[in-house]
Amino acid sequence: MNPRSLLLHAYVYAVLVFILLPILVILPMAFSETTYLTFPPQGLTLSWFGDFFTDSRWMASTWFSVKIAVLTAITTAVVGTMATYALVRGANAMGTLFQAFLIGPIVVPHIALAVALYLFFQNAGLSGTTLGYVLAHSVIAMPFTVFTVAAALTSVDPALEDAAMSCGASRFNAFRLVTLPIILPNVISGALFAFIISFDEPVIAFFLAGIRDKTLPRMMFDDIEQNLTPIIPAIAVLLTLLSILVLLAAAVLKHMADRNKGAEGQ
């Protein structure tokens, strides 16, 4: 390795340490016996996991978050795939509008969106409701789903559907039997993205929290602000495991998608 490359590697690995360090530091604290967070953690206990799994408030919020995230994933997958399909397969004219609407919720600061939603949902009686969360989270997760699906859809030769129709399939069947199976891995990984985004959304949840139901991030925010007990690292451990699972799932799906697409040849 020449000196230039050595320097680059050294720099990059230093940056990677910077990226990983906080997470590596916080994870072991989940096993600490102290009620506050110190490094290195003292003692070794699983009781914080126990606390998390037995505290009805944490459990309720976890399930609430899971419910919202699943619904958000389904909503974005269905709505996003429909819209993307229309767009990639023809609605040229709406492209700009679509893109503006899609990107809007990403670039408009979440605090602004949260405040706006708060006001509107308060009036509409959606504040804190599952529907309210799903609507809000779908809007901010949509771009990620759409771009994942669009990436697949644009690489599917539209002639495949023509071929299906020339074989006697209706337009809908051509989509259902040909296009959908091919892009399905991407649709699912797009849905996974949406799931994670919803599951990890702190800002809007901060404003929309309802009377009974709080999302997990909202609970975590409160705990960080108020207590900062090792239950946070315990959750971090669980979330990290979940992310690894999801990333693995996404990798498998990508592999499948590549396999599906491979046949177009040239």
């Binding site: 002639a159 071929a163 020339s166 091919i182 040849g265």
Partner: protein, 365 residues
């Protein structure tokens, strides 16, 4: 080898009447009328963007014409969606469904027609046999070579015995050897099964060797529809003349009998040299390079020319020469018997009057 539709043909008659198609302000197809006989093999040939695909897609039902009608066996199907037309189609990039096995790909049209599983499998296997791929049903498309994939696409297009087979540059993604193999395959299937074929290509050699008739398109308009030989030997206008094969184009003055060149040499032309009547005055003489031959300079009835370049090209060689007035004339001759001509030589060019065609000047370039 123009080959009439066999009498026991099961192909359909296709009538395209005054077909027009606009995309916004772009006129892709302009008043194209073409009748394709049952069992005939017609090639659509033309430069890129001339509307070949649009015509084909209108027949298939993927494009809705903005004018005109498409009749198949006398039935107007202008407004019918593609899945109701019962037409077989082969696309440029195979378009096999990548997630389905070869067998399932071929069986797909049968599935759409509600045919039971066992029967589907049987018919698909039969179709694969026709394209000489029996035993490949279990493979996935990407495990096949390009040529094999295109054969599968062919099997899928014919499995339900359509009476019309449409193909949009089906061979252009294949390399030379595979292409030739597939040309033969397609011709064989056409002869065996007797369906009507409309075949889009931009390869003139392919069109000339495969089709019963060739339709030449330019900018959405039909230029000529003829069998290969008359297209090559009597192109109906300068565009067709220049588009198919090589052609020397020389400005002349026409007096009704003789064409006079700028150096005042002239040539008396038989009546057949004129595709259509031409008024005396400026005209254009066209002659194919392989119809010219080298003579001794100054020999009677030859043109004096200077050889600029001799390009060896295997079977044939190309002579690039200049006439006195600077206009370029190309000659093609077999390399084997080639006279020993070198760059810089002065030669005579012999031009048999029966090889010459005359067009009005200013005709489409």
């Amino acid at each position: 080898m123009p080959q009439a539709a066999s009498p026991h043909s099961k192909g359909a008659l296709i009538e395209i009447r005054g077909l027009g198609k606009r995309f916004g302000s772009v006129v892709a197809v302009d008043d194209v009328s073409l009748t394709i006989d049952a069992g005939e093999f017609v090639a659509l040939l033309g430069p890129s963007g001339s509307g070949k695909s649009t015509v084909l897609m209108s027949v298939a039902g993927f494009e809705r014409p903005t004018a005109g009608q498409i009749l198949i066996d006398g039935v107007d199907c202008t407004g019918l969606p593609p899945n109701k037309r019962n037409i077989g189609m082969v696309f440029q990039h195979y378009t096999l469904f990548p997630h389905l096995s070869v067998g399932d790909n071929v069986a797909f049209p049968l599935k759409m027609r509600g045919i039971g599983k066992a029967e589907r499998r049987r018919q698909a296997e039969q179709a694969l046999e026709v394209v000489r791929l029996s035993g490949y049903a279990e493979r996935m498309p990407k495990q096949l070579s390009g040529g094999q994939q295109q054969r599968v696409a062919l099997a899928r297009a014919i499995v339900y015995n359509p009476r019309v087979l449409l193909m949009d540059e089906p061979l252009s993604a294949l390399d030379k050897n595979l292409r030739e193999e597939m040309q033969i395959e397609i011709k064989r299937l056409h002869a065996e099964l007797g369906f009507t074929v409309v075949f889009v290509t931009h390869d003139q050699g392919e069109a000339l060797t495969m089709a019963d008739r060739i339709a030449i398109l330019k900018a959405g308009r039909l230029q000529q529809v003829s069998p290969a030989r008359s297209l090559y030997e009597r192109p109906s206008n300068l565009f067709a003349a220049g588009f198919i094969g090589e052609m020397n184009i020389l400005p002349v003055t026409w007096d009704g009998e003789k064409a006079t060149f700028s150096n005042n040499q002239d040539i008396r032309l038989p009546a057949e040299a004129l595709i259509e009547p031409i008024r005396p005055g400026a005209a254009v003489l066209a002659v194919r390079p392989e119809r010219l031959s080298v003579a001794a300079p100054g020999e009677a009835g030859t043109w004096k020319a200077t050889v600029r370049d001799v390009v060896y090209a295997g079977a044939g060689s190309l002579l690039i020469t200049h006439l006195d007035d600077g206009s370029e004339v190309r000659l093609r001759m077999p390399s084997a018997g080639q006279a020993n001509v070198r760059s810089g030589d002065t030669i005579g060019i012999r031009m048999p009057p029966e090889a010459v065609l005359l067009y009005p000047s200013g005709d489409a370039a």
